[in-house]
């Protein structure tokens, strides 16, 4: 178990290294000159050369890569070219917002997905199953940014125009209201939750639709097995069989889903953060890429890659906990 963990960690580190190396090459081979950000508009060739030398951009690519890599591994992530703040500061401000959003939506995705998948599998080939299948298929086909815009249209604009009750009306952007500072602690909490509602609804709806499709199949595979019939025959209730016998065994493939769904979740987050002006990593990254803020691009890439690797690692570990046969014999 420990050896497996060590190996997987080493592999994960390798993957992160590959990702940042590829990104570094792409960023540095791309047309465009980052030194332009450091000279005043209209500056001549001489000023540009000076800036390039000062930034170290005149050195060969390999030298730049190695010096960047050593600095990066030592925790010196440089200064954001656009925000003129240390990159670590920028990340430290943004990361919690993204983790709150993705964490909450992952939780809802699992709870909702399992519930919907179970209902569908136990009402197999009924109107409820068909209806839910069609619904999940359509929601799963929706681009996150479009669903987000549609939710804003309904729960912010239409709700305001037609005077819907306050609990059906949600703010369309940001993390807090402008006057949040003056609210009571409870008021501030409610304010935050209301701001979280629409971004979370977007990500969770798509997540639930995707995982329910998967869980329905996994449950159907297990449901017909002999031990389930035995459990029913000995008089266990429907719900007990569903939760204790079927779900437990169907959960194995679902755990794999956790690792596999992370990249999709993060790309969904990027779009959702852009739409809802949510000051998380995705927005920081899109802004950085747009503004050619190279240090921030590198840092956000590294962090997203690390999050994906950690997610996969976690899924692997959970898998070998849930099924002891796995892990001991694997390679």
């Amino acid at each position: 178990m420990i050896r497996l963990l060590g190996r997987r960690l080493a592999l994960g580190l390798g993957i992160v290294l590959v990702v940042v190396t590829v990104t570094f090459l792409l960023v540095n081979l791309a047309p465009g000159d980052p030194a332009r950000l450091w000279v005043a508009p209209g500056a001549g060739q001489a000023e540009l050369e000076t800036a390039r030398r000062a930034l170290g951009l005149d050195r060969p690519l390999l030298v730049r890569y190695l010096s960047w890599l050593t600095a990066f591994t030592r925790g010196d992530w440089g200064v954001s070219l656009v925000q003129q703040r240390p990159v670590l500061r920028v990340i430290a401000d943004a990361l919690p917002h993204t983790l709150v959003l993705t964490g909450a939506s992952l939780l809802l995705t699992y709870i909702g997905g399992i519930a919907v998948g179970l209902i569908q599998a136990f009402r197999h080939r009924t109107a409820a199953d068909t209806g839910l299948t069609v619904t999940t298929l359509i929601i799963y086909g929706m681009p996150a940014y479009w669903l987000a815009i549609m939710l804003v249209l309904v729960f912010s604009y239409a709700a305001a125009r037609y005077g819907w009750p306050i609990w059906l009306r949600f703010p369309a952007m940001g993390v807090t209201s402008l006057d949040a500072e003056f609210l009571s602690p409870w008021g501030r909490f409610v304010d935050r939750m209301r701001h979280l509602a629409l971004p979370l609804m977007t990500l969770a709806a798509i997540g639930i639709a995707g995982s329910a499709r998967f869980i329905r199949g996994a449950v159907l595979d297990v449901k017909g097995l002999p031990f389930v019939r035995t459990a029913r025959a000995k008089g266990a209730g429907r719900l007990a069989v569903a939760l204790r016998h079927v779900l437990r065994n169907a959960l194995l493939p679902v755990i794999t889903l956790l690792g596999l769904s992370l990249p999709a979740l993060f790309s969904g987050t990027v779009f959702v953060e852009v739409i809802f002006a949510w000051p998380g990593m995705g927005r920081v990254m899109v802004d950085a890429v747009g503004g050619r803020d190279y240090p921030v691009v590198m840092a956000t890439t590294a962090i997203f890659a690390a999050l994906v690797v950690i997610g996969n690692l976690l899924a692997d570990m959970l898998y070998s906990v849930a099924d002891p046969r796995v892990g001991s014999e694997r390679e």
Partner: protein
Amino acid sequence: MSSIKALWGDRRAAAGLLILAALCVLGILAPLIAPADPVVQADVLRTRFLPPFAVGPDGTLHLLGTDRFGRDVLSRLVYGARISLAVGLLSVAVSVGLGTAIGLVSAYAGGLVERGLMSLTDAALAMPRLVLLLALVTLWEPSLILVVLVLGCTGWMGIARLTRAEVKGLMGRPFVAAARATGLGDFRLLQRHLLPNALTPVLVAAALGVGNAIMLEAGLSFLGLGIPPPSPSWGNMIAGGRDALVNAPWIVTFPGIMVVLAVVGCNLLGDGARDALDPTAR
């Protein structure tokens, strides 16, 4: 051609095929279907933000309204189908080419080559695709070819794994040994016997991949990094309509519905095909 019949027999696959065929016809016949030119704008002040079913000053009926430059939304949707379908199909063609090649070679060669190629696949699989796409497309000049290449080169991993697993399974079968006994070379064996037999799951994955690629293209265009305007793409139509969300919600709504239709069509076809073409399916 029994597989086509089997596909047609599956309700989902048939529905998916119908949806995709309809979208293809829409794209191919765009000049005949579109009531107006998708790019040219007329008298902006009098033609912009016309709601659905409005009749413009020149007497043309705008079935789905007009956008903020007075361009007919329906016409742009129809022309946008060309871009979305082209990007989806071409980029998946690139992924299938890359993926089957890598999968075939690694399964057939075995040993160190296989280990190396599969580690490469695992590393590529762990890369956050959108991050890579964003970095590539923003830093280089966006164009149709770049989007296709980038989507294709970041989507081959699943197909490589599938192909490898399929081919590995086939290699132990007697017909492969028989073919080899007749003196067939490596290339002929791969081309005539292994590839065709491994193709079914690859095609299923490809169908699902097309939907994914269409969604990603729309996403990139939405961020302003995909197909550059004024070419109509569903993604950049959604992006363009966002500014007028309150006054002209139809500009955003319809292209989104088109994306959903295309993706649902691909997913239906993929899911249906998996069950219809798999002899061991329940």
